[in-house]
């Protein structure tokens, strides 16, 4: 077992892996200094600043603003889908005690299900405990307004925030492996679903595709609407509900390579 770089020019004394990782860390540092893990609510029009000379995008921002009031940015660190999705889902649940309690039950049963699928109990437990701890802390707060403030605080603490992301990644991986007959047709190349999960789903900072979103929705029993904003020539943004035909409770904005949260 070695890594996947196939290079004939490795210098015997130089440790290239470390140089690459050092450079990666530098880039990550720059991103983390400029963007919060999860930002404050902003009006949709705040997107205009990023595209002031871009006719295609300005038109699409107009379309977006006709349907959504606010957005909330997430840090572009490869975890943005998982972080945005979990945050938006929990934020929504805080408005309804019954939905919250039902969700709590789903999460409570999830650790056992993962262990049954062959996930290592010892490490899964670590992330599960934090996820449940966050749910308990939020559930104990009386008003939704205060609970949402706490949610925002916790999701901007790297320790909590990343553990929440990891646990959703594990749940997503579990869902993919449980229904592998279905998901295997979406995986390109010769990889098995389990390999795909180990390489593209479980590791932090790996970006999400359609398949991750489908499985995450199924694992969290949640419908999501993704609004795609790109350089396509249509004047309106394309919307996509997952799973198809469900009433979405989470709305996400996708711009190539990145997800943010949207508010009606």
């Amino acid at each position: 077992m070695g890594d996947e770089f196939e290079s004939d020019t490795v210098v015997a004394s130089g440790n290239q892996d470390e140089l690459i990782m050092q450079q990666q860390r530098q880039i990550e540092r720059e991103i983390s200094e400029s963007t919060a893990l999860v930002g404050d609510l902003e009006p949709i029009a705040s997107l205009n600043n990023e595209y002031s000379n871009d006719v295609v995008y300005l038109e699409k921002i107009k379309d977006l603003a006709s349907k959504y009031k606010y957005m909330r940015r997430t840090r572009p660190d490869g975890n943005c889908f998982f972080r945005a999705f979990t945050y938006a889902k929990l934020e929504r649940l805080l408005d309804n005690k019954i939905d919250f309690a039902n969700f709590y039950k789903i999460v409570e049963g999830s650790k056992h299900a993962l262990v049954e699928l062959g996930f290592p109990q010892f490490t899964v437990e670590d992330f599960y405990d934090t996820f449940i701890d966050v749910l308990k802390r939020l559930g104990d707060i009386k008003t939704a307004t205060d609970a949402k403030k706490e949610l925002h605080t916790l999701f901007n603490e790297q320790g909590y925030s990343d553990y929440m992301v990891v646990y959703l990644r594990l749940l997503t991986s579990g869902q993919l492996q449980r229904d592998q007959d279905f998901y295997s047709c979406f995986i390109e190349g010769e990889r098995t679903v389990a390999d795909f999960c180990h390489q593209e789903v479980e590791p932090m900072y790996k970006e999400s595709d359609h398949i991750h979103i489908m499985a995450a929705c199924a694992a969290m029993n949640t419908g999501v609407r993704v609004v795609y904003m790109d350089r396509g020539t249509s004047k309106i943004n394309i919307e996509h509900d997952l799973p198809e035909g469900t009433q979405p409770s989470v709305h996400l904005l996708y711009r190539p390579g990145h997800y943010d949260i949207l508010y009606l």
Partner: protein, 151 residues
């Protein structure tokens, strides 16, 4: 101060003591839980057999979301170990998963000793001998094994 990384490392340590995998051991250094010393015993039926190879593991506050830096302190002759002791192993780089713990890291390195990957060489001499001259490869490895008794 207790951070997620430190808390998790205490758990890893406890597990390693209570349920130690065969042929590996590890513990935090006396005054710093972020730096560990570890030993991997050379696997049976490989040229590394009988060797006791020392390593250091350095964690950051981002553990277990990012892998630690693992390095052999003992001199190694292996296709995937750099001259400075650094290890070329996918799970310590781009295929790291937060579900790995110290036990999993050490047992993966142990199996790397049994099954080198000569197509991804960190030591091109070792990789070449492994592929083309297994006898000489084993001779060089055995020298490391003997060296490991003295270290």
């Amino acid at each position: 101060m207790s951070t997620p990384a430190r808390r998790r490392l205490m758990r890893d340590f406890k597990r390693l003591q209570e349920d130690p995998p065969t042929g590996v051991s590890g513990a935090p250094t006396d005054n710093n839980i972020m730096i560990w010393n570890a030993v991997i015993f050379g696997p049976h039926d490989t040229p590394f057999e009988d060797g006791t190879f020392k390593l250091t593991i350095e964690f950051t506050e981002e553990y277990p979301n990012k892998p630690p830096t693992v390095r052999f302190v003992s001199h190694m002759f292996h296709p995937n170990v750099y001259a400075d002791g650094g290890i070329c192993l996918d799970i310590l780089q781009n295929r790291w998963s937060p579900t790995y713990d110290v036990s999993a890291i050490l047992t993966s390195i142990q199996s790397l000793l049994s099954d080198p990957n000569p197509n991804s060489p960190a030591n091109s001499m070792a990789a070449q001998l492994y592929k083309e001259n297994r006898r000489e490869y084993e001779k060089r490895v055995k020298a490391c094994v003997e060296q490991s008794f003295i270290d």
